[in-house]
Subunit: 146 residues, 10 copies
């Protein structure tokens, strides 16, 4: 993965600031995941949001256009090599068709939107080992017949 | 995707039976997604479970070994072409690094297990369009230092 | 491309019947492209529609479940070799980013849905050579911020 | 996607100028999409057009040769990762063979040209959500028999 | 390469008949290369031509629809392994950009059509070793500006 | 495609000089295509030829070793994205096996050399649209039996 | 393989220091392989460990954040070209399914963790040629049924 | 993965026999992993060994040539999708260069042979979860200088 | 690798006959490697040679056309998985550019033909382990300048 | 192919020195191919050899560590585009399985080592065109049974 220059600046500034994504998000009224997506160039902010984030991280407000413009989304190789990200790819490989069958059964022919979509990541403490809970919430879009 | 012969038999029998995955699951005390994964050859049952599923679907109990043996997991091409499954791939492409950053921040260096793992898919009714809610629940595994 | 057995049956029956996709569509009240998509296993019908199409083509009505079930969508290799289909791939390669920039400018950050979507193909007669007019009509989906 | 240096200059200048592609196009008598294609290095201008565009964007007219020379066309990876562009790829995957069958039926064996070709993108307002209307207009080219 | 069943039948019949492609072509008034393309499923005939070819090769005339219908074009892997065909791929790899530069210089921005296109292969006898002469003749298509 | 630095210098100098490849070729007694291949780093000159070309283009003669040394040949991705170059790839995909069959029929088992090889590109004026005529002339090499 | 800048600094400093990975490891109480993984950016240290390693190698302690942050793991192409690394890939290709069958037989359906995992590489002297002994020690993770 | 017919026969017979790979190995004096490799067509036996294995599994001794002939080795796709096998691929991706550095440091420039090679898989019981211990033992082969 | 039906017949007959490739070659006056290439469908015989080989192997002479016709050459995946064949691929990866530099230095810009080409494989006995000696003998083909 | 900086320095110095690989090799008692492999970063020297080569080429002796360290081997894309190198790839594609069958017949199941390996390239003068003779000499390694 090569992330672009502005992403690198945002992530370095965040590291130095010792702020969590959640803390940055609270400051501007957005979720931690949306903030992380913005930092990696995967979401775009409006001018107010962009300047707010830059201010919280102590960066020059002049950088705001980089956070607002249309940019190519999608990071990394088609099969991820990073083990954490690979596990989500593996879930799609192993459970993809079972999930499709279940969604078809419950909703009919269509998809879960990845655009009209939010996500949450929670830490569930457990004495046998903490658990990661990931929740996807996407609008069901039925195939249009015409 | 080419699914193997036993999967095709299970899915055809399920279609004829008009049973949902959830109904099959209730009959043998397992979740609908695990049942779907079993039907697609992505999970393996013990002999009792295998015979139970075959019986519910009206198939010969002699088929049980096919549901119990070790088999190669993972379906379909490295980049899925089916739109429903592609959306989960897209989430990994777009949100993968943001998710990694959040998990690293909350848990440290490690992964969410895709093995010590369960999943649920729920339908959330919404007047603006129903929503698909997918929940992943996997154990956090920290990298061992030695 | 290998199309599945039921698709081959539908296309062979259509050839023998000398019916156009439009004529089949008229018979059941659906557009020619949706009919073509159904024949290639890329759309799914309800039981009534399925039996109607089978009847028009003189095929056994018992085949209807194959036209109704969830199936994997997406045909052919990742880069198409057929020249007609390649041209649409080429348009995406050459005009993809310009189209993204125009859509971003007019609508903001988001996508054109390929699910809440219809398409038409028209023949425009022209003395210098007839022209193919393809119209895509898809709902704009803005990225959700949260 | 890595766009070349001159493209980056043109897009940055456009952002600063707050001009839309349509406004630049009006100034020189060309469509907004052709302008966008030119900015991304996917079309080539003559010297007059090139200088006109550079002038409108406040860039040095000496850059004109970069807008006129032969250059390699085609951007991005063979399967796009950007969700907006992917949807056009998905349409080709899902509807490619149905479209081929319809065009063959209406025109005979041949293709829609992607060279003798124009495109338009319109915003269709709709209370249930605005729609993107994309129109391709390409000459039909029949296979020559010899 | 896997060629389809009808192609195999045509090629086997041709081998048994000891007719050359040119002789088959003469019988029906078409060039040898077009005949070869038809045999490999890369061109489509009208009913008269199809029956003529089948008759010359002593095959059942009932096979004619297979020679007339729309079918997916393009054979073999994306990089050919057959040495003869690879050499044409190598020419494209080595001389592709030089050819583009020459064509751009002579014609302007555009392409040589591979559809409004004919080809000839001649044997040029030479005491130092016979030479293969391949001639491509395609219409120049300039990029449309709009 | 990324061409190397010396190629970029040669092509820029050619653009400034307003000389065609043919004019450069005449000056040193070589064909325009060979000159273009040399400029793209796909052919190698001897010292005299190299200095001659550099002189014609007004570049420093000290650059000559770059035009003489062994260098890796082959440009661009395995499937070209540039539409002009893609058409030659498409010809190989569509007509490759027919061409192989014709050559086998006329010459026996072997190949057309891409090394003992020359090429010409001519413009054939035509009121219905000018045509590109490409001629390949390569030695036939029969497979050696031993 | 392109390793990042900090990795290059660590490896160069190690070369100059003539310390082995084992000696660096002893200094900070970690195994030689973990140290090597850290140097290649494949493991992450805490601040104390990071500064300790930097000190041993005579590098600026200010570099420590680079050794602690979340970074993308996985090096090199999907099929390795380096012969030493390829042999491990080959073992997976040749012995992968046999290993899966043995592990399934001994443990049931599940995997060996590559996260809760340590490795050792030993030199076993042998008059017929020394042998490399590689030991993987990973926790067995059974697939969860739910 | 598609395993060949004889492998499928051996694995089915083994399943019916309820013998472990180790028990089959004991009967003929070979290790369990070599037996598993033989069953998957990745090792070749001599006639005595082949007949012995067939006899133990109750299969026809006439099948022995299939266990003795040269056959193509290597199973599955270049990046494995099966989670158990993928973990070994991941180890090569993540730890490959660190392993190379350690082996180079201990042995010099060369490789661990995957041919003059044996492997063992042991179950190490552990109250916190059993562990898989995999041991590779391969001859070190130094690069020859000449 | 999937070899075609006629190849499988030839190889099975050879196994039953207990003849070596060299013995078959002697019977018809051809080298063992050419015979092996013929058996794998990589070389083509004339009618006399084809019948001779079929006779020696006790197969029906009616099969001769399969050994004489033009067929697609090249076996297996683009990167071989079989360890023996991979080693030759590895030699090309590791020593390819060094070989090119040496050949360029000794012969000038050109290639070693793989068509006007023979090969031999010899066993050189050696107390430290027998050695495989492979000799390629191909005509040098200089790039034509024109 | 991108070769690293030190390789570029060595090759440039060699070009200026007008020394052949053989002459450099004579100076330090090594074969021309090993010298070429060293220059391309595919072999590693000891300190004495490294300094000797640097001295012969008039380069700073301080560069020696770059010639001695472990580095990733393998150059260029998985399918080579350079015609000279491609021919060796083609030999592997066309003759790979025949070679495997011959080696299996002569030696049993195993491989030719590419590590305990030397190579020679000779020019054989021939009035019909000089020939390239390439000799590989590698130790046979039988698969270990255990």
């Amino acid at each position: 993965m090569t992330i672009n220059e502005i992403s690198q600046k945002l992530l370095d500034a965040k590291y130095r600031s010792k702020l969590s994504f959640a803390q940055i998000g609270e400051a501007i009224g957005r979720d931690e995941i949306w903030i992380a997506a913005l930092c990696y160039g995967q979401a775009s902010a409006n001018e107010t949001e962009a300047k707010h984030v830059l201010g919280v991280l102590g960066l020059s407000l002049d950088l705001f256009p980089s956070l607002c413009q249309s940019q190519s989304k999608g990071l990394g190789p088609s099969v991820p090599t990073d083990p954490l990200i690979y596990r989500f790819y593996e879930i799609m490989q192993v459970y993809g068709y079972p999930m499709k069958a279940i969604i078809h059964e419950k909703f009919g022919d269509g998809i879960m939107s990845a655009i009209d979509f939010t996500m949450a990541i929670d830490k569930v403490e457990d004495p046998k080992g903490d658990r990661v809970k990931v929740t996807f919430d996407g609008k069901f879009l039925p195939y249009k017949k015409w």
